[in-house]
């Protein structure tokens, strides 16, 4: 039954994609076809995933296939089901949002192709988490990279979009190259690429190599630092609903890959946990710091994806650390926290990208310093964005807090248990210090985004003429905002979603204990959150009672007696973030461009700040330069002269003969 639902879902998506590709005209037909098939496919897939998550167990289908080493072997187990659910929710809502968002491009761009690739991306993501054969997995993975590449290239007439697309394509394929090596290693002596027939690597070195290939290969997709360089370019370049899908769920397939492969390659060593912990801490802190320094709202959100992938990675690090030191509570809390953060981040990050898209749609700019005062012009978007912003900072009573709490709990638990003696406690300390720092910086960053974009007065004409987003966009945002609140207040239920997944990987008995403990704690937190909301409502009521019958006046903002305040005198996004960036300037290296005339009566001055990604300039640029030099050297061997090639063949045969004769 599960398999029938899943296959139907895939078929519907592919059918919809194919039909969209051949639609003509303004694109209205393609939009309708795209959204209908996406939502139908999502509902079918959620049905299948929900059954597995509810009842546990596994459902699989294995069909022989003519491809060497390949077999069409797909399965749904709780781990896959959890990711299928996350992917489907976000993709369905993105499709709904997309119908209205793409209206502006109708008649100008080929929307049929866009919807075709959207459906393909959705289907290939589902296939990635379904497939249980190396070849099938790599094909699905490649399909995911290619279809998202074409989606990023939607506005290919812009130079920066083309640049972003190429960087993304290269990054995706470098990651894929590592995955190929990984599967070759895992196929081993059996030469069988079915996941259940993998040879577990023998010896610490082989297992360690497999682990490193996993982290690098999947980390390139997930966006671990320093492999994140494609993210801040690709997310702003893509249409907003595509950014939401890419940032909300596509990069999570990297996390899925890590969890899946690590569960197949044998007992983890302690340093695996350390690797993920340190990667997570570095990605988290550097991601949020660079986010703070951005002026483009979508670029900022892209860096926040790096940060949240870091938080997820911290959870996974605690999981592996817990398994390796045989501490089931730590392992379960880390894994459940990390996985739940996958869902939570998908929800609030997609919401924020939708919001950013609505802002760009309404104002025509993504530069925060040109915005302001949008709360009055687009109140529903502002409300939804505010909820998403508070959720991503991990503030109660919203969903981000629940998953971060689980990771914190694991970290504090191990610190208290080991009494700061021994390295596991140091791992816990790293995790909680990183989380604490990320929390503070994320709050600073989203106070900046929401405060500058939605509050205050408009800073330019762009913001003055803004309007509320169309109904489908508001609907998609409202659903996600509602999910943020529900998953936050119903923490125990959220934990139940990931309990079967953790049970599958760690053993049901041990996980159910930890899960029951965490649910008990989250129930108390839900109570505390409930009293927080009740108290706030009470004070709101009290204030309106006190103010009824008294004079409530409106006036201008107090500006210290200055007589002619203008909206340009407001604090800007750049100046808001500047003090924090200065504290970390040794890391972020912001650049200031000042043009100040040194005359007695200067009538013009200019100051702007700019932050480059040092990993791109400092790490990858030299690396690719070096690769190019190397390629040029090798180039001499193949210059297009047939005579030379005949000589190569002759020499090769000669060498082979000599080897054989000897």
């Amino acid at each position: 039954m599960t398999m029938v639902l899943m296959l139907t879902s895939l078929a519907v998506l592919l059918f919809g994609g194919a039909v969209c590709a051949f639609t003509k005209g303004s694109g209205r037909g393609a939009s309708i076809m795209g959204v209908v098939t996406s939502v139908t496919g999502a509902i079918l897939a959620i049905g299948a995933a929900g059954t597995i998550l509810w009842t546990g167990g596994e459902s699989s289908l294995r069909v022989p296939w003519q491809v060497p080493f390949g077999s069409f072997y797909i399965a749904v187990d709780p781990l896959s089901a959890f990711f299928i659910m996350t992917i489907s929710i976000i993709c369905a809502l993105a499709a709904v949002y997309g119908t209205a968002y793409l209206d502006a491009y109708r008649g100008k761009k080929n929307l049929g192709a866009l919807w075709c690739f959207f459906n393909l991306l959705f289907a290939s993501m589902l296939l990635v988490v379904l497939s249980r054969n190396g070849i099938l997995f790599l094909i699905a993975w490649e399909g995911m990279s290619i279809s998202s590449f074409f989606l990023v290239m939607f506005e290919h007439e812009k130079a920066e979009v083309r640049e972003a697309g190429w960087v993304y394509l290269i990054a995706a394929h470098i990651g894929q190259a590592f995955l190929m090596f990984l599967f070759i290693l895992l196929a081993g002596q059996n030469a069988n690429l079915d996941f259940d027939k993998f040879t577990t690597p023998v010896g610490a070195a082989a297992a360690g190599t497999a682990f490193l290939l996993t982290v690098v290969g999947f980390g390139a997709k997930a966006g671990f630092i320093p492999m994140h360089v494609w993210l801040p370019d690709a997310h702003p370049a893509a249409p907003s609903h595509v950014s939401a899908v890419m940032s909300g769920v596509m990069i999570k397939t990297g996390i899925y890959g890590i969890v899946r492969i690590v569960s197949l390659i044998g007992a983890p060593a302690q340093w695996w946990g350390w690797t993920l912990l340190i990667t997570g801490a570095v990605s988290g802190i550097i991601g949020v710091l660079f986010a703070l320094a951005q002026h483009d709202i979508k670029r900022l959100l892209a860096y926040h994806s790096v940060e949240n992938i870091g938080i997820i990675c911290l959870g996974l690090g605690l999981w592996l650390l817990g398994v390796s030191i045989n501490n089931p509570v730590l392992a379960a809390l880390g894994l459940m926290g990390g996985l739940l953060h996958v869902l939570n981040h998908a929800v609030f990050k997609s919401l924020l990208f939708f919001g950013a898209g609505a802002v760009a749609h309404a104002t025509g700019t993504r530069n925060m310093d040109l915005l302001g005062g949008l709360q009055k012009r687009m109140p529903q978007t502002a409300m939804a964005f505010a909820i998403g912003a508070a959720a991503i900072c991990g503030l109660p009573p919203l969903n981000g807090f629940v998953s971060e709490f689980l990771i914190y709990l694991g970290a504090f638990g191990i610190v208290a248990k080991a009494g700061a003696l021994g390295s596991p406690a140091a791992g816990g300390l790293i995790a909680l210090a990183a989380l604490g720092m990320i929390g503070g910086l994320a709050a600073a960053c989203f106070a900046k985004v929401f405060g500058i974009v939605f509050l205050g007065e408009p800073r330019s004409e762009h913001a003055v003429k803004a309007h509320e987003a169309p109904a489908p966009m508001v609907l998609a945002m409202s659903v996600l905002a509602g999910l943020c609140v529900i998953l936050g207040l119903a923490g125990p239920l959220a934990v139940r979603l990931v309990t079967p997944v953790a049970g599958q990987l760690l053993g049901n008995i041990q996980v159910s204990e930890t899960s029951a403990m965490a649910q008990g704690l989250l129930l108390k937190i839900s109570l505390a959150c409930g009293s927080l909301i009740a108290l706030a409502a009470f004070f709101w009521w009290l204030r309106s009672m006190l103010l009824s019958g008294r004079t409530v006046a409106a006036g201008p903002t107090w500006d210290c007696g200055y007589s002619a305040p203008t909206s340009r005198m407001q604090y800007t996004a750049s100046s808001f973030a500047w003090p924090v960036i200065l504290m970390f300037q040794w890391l972020v290296r912001p650049r200031l461009h000042a043009r100040i005339r040194k005359e007695f009566f200067p009538h013009y001055a200019e100051l702007s700040s700019h932050t480059d990604d040092p990993f791109r300039q400092g790490l990858f640029a030299p690396l690719f330069k070096w690769a190019e030099v190397l390629a040029r050297r090798v180039h001499g061997l193949q210059e297009g002269r047939n005579q030379l090639y005949v000589l190569y063949i002759a020499i090769t045969i000669l060498v082979l003969l000599l080897v054989k004769v000897r």
Partner: protein, 304 residues
């Protein structure tokens, strides 16, 4: 008995917290050779504000109106978790301090957004500084609690605080003192006291917390001032529980000692305010880094 103590402590916090501000002002007055305002002046201020009408900036919207009520609600929930001496608050569970720290984070977030809702440059500056200092202050708070958790091998505030000064091997006295010092710096930062912020300055450019609430008036300002008093009580309770090495095992006695400690903390804050000048804003992060180093030193003591 235990739950009774928690309820009484909660009640005392709600009633007595504005008195802390009165004590600080009186101490400062005495040091300056003035007679000073009445001890109950903060109560008079709050009552006076509750009786007033309100003026809202025409720039502001619902965020501005939501800030004060959510802020007060958050700090009240945080107070429910705060331990009374060696005994837990109303809510006590494993990891309760994480929720407490994040409830305070929520209070800060809504205050900052409410400030930015006015579109004033000054309030923007205050908001920017508030979030800047919070980055390190929150880190110190969480790592300090982690060190205490490592020392006592407990993960709830009640258990940590009750075990801290009772027979523990190795003795945790030095750890408690070091963390208490770090928390004192966090207290001064989080509650906008000298040397971080001067509530009495008359230049909006230099203020942090006070400038963020420039545009609030009437009942909103009363909520904010009461919330600030509760926040001061919360940090003072955490601090005096660390610094006072007395655990009788009798909940009521311990709680009474803790409340006395909280009042003494107010006197100490008043003395610090009288003896020091405000730091340059650029130097505040350095002071917070000192607190972080002290926390790490405490960690080293446990590792020793």
């Amino acid at each position: 008995m235990n739950i009774m103590t928690s309820i009484i402590h909660m009640f005392l916090a709600l009633v007595l917290s504005p008195l802390l501000l009165g004590i600080i002002n009186r101490v400062k007055a005495v040091f300056a050779g003035r007679r000073g305002q009445p001890l109950a002046q903060p109560y008079y201020d709050i009552i006076k504000l509750l009786k007033k009408g309100a003026v809202y900036s025409s720039t502001s919207g619902w965020v501005f109106r939501l800030g004060p009520v959510t802020g007060l609600a958050s700090v009240m929930v945080a107070i429910m978790i705060c331990p009374a001496g060696g005994h837990g608050g109303l809510f006590s569970f494993a990891g309760d301090f994480i929720f407490m720290a994040y409830a305070l984070g929520l209070m800060r977030f809504v205050t900052v957004l409410a400030a930015m809702d006015t579109g004033s440059a000054f309030e923007g500056m205050g908001a920017s500084r508030e979030v800047q200092f919070a980055v390190i202050a929150e880190l110190v708070l969480l790592t300090g609690l982690a060190v205490l958790a490592a020392g006592t091998r407990e993960v709830s505030l009640a258990a940590i605080y009750s075990k801290l000064w009772t027979a523990s091997i190795p003795p945790l006295g030095p750890v408690a003192v070091l963390i208490a010092f770090a928390f004192l710096i966090v207290l001064l930062t989080e509650n906008a006291r000298i040397p971080v912020d001067d509530p009495n300055t008359h230049l909006e450019l230099t203020m942090i917390h006070e400038v963020m609430v420039l545009d609030h008036g009437g009942p909103d300002l009363a909520f904010i001032q009461y919330g600030a008093a509760l926040k001061l009580w919360l940090f003072a309770a955490l601090l005096s529980g660390l610094a006072i090495p007395l655990r009788t095992g009798q909940p009521m006695t311990d709680m009474a000692v803790n409340v006395a400690g909280i009042l003494v903390t107010a006197i100490i804050v008043g003395m610090i305010e009288s003896a020091m000048a405000r730091l340059r804003l650029l130097h505040v992060p350095q002071m917070l880094v000192v607190a972080l180093s002290v926390t790490v030193a405490a960690l080293l003591w446990i590792l020793r």
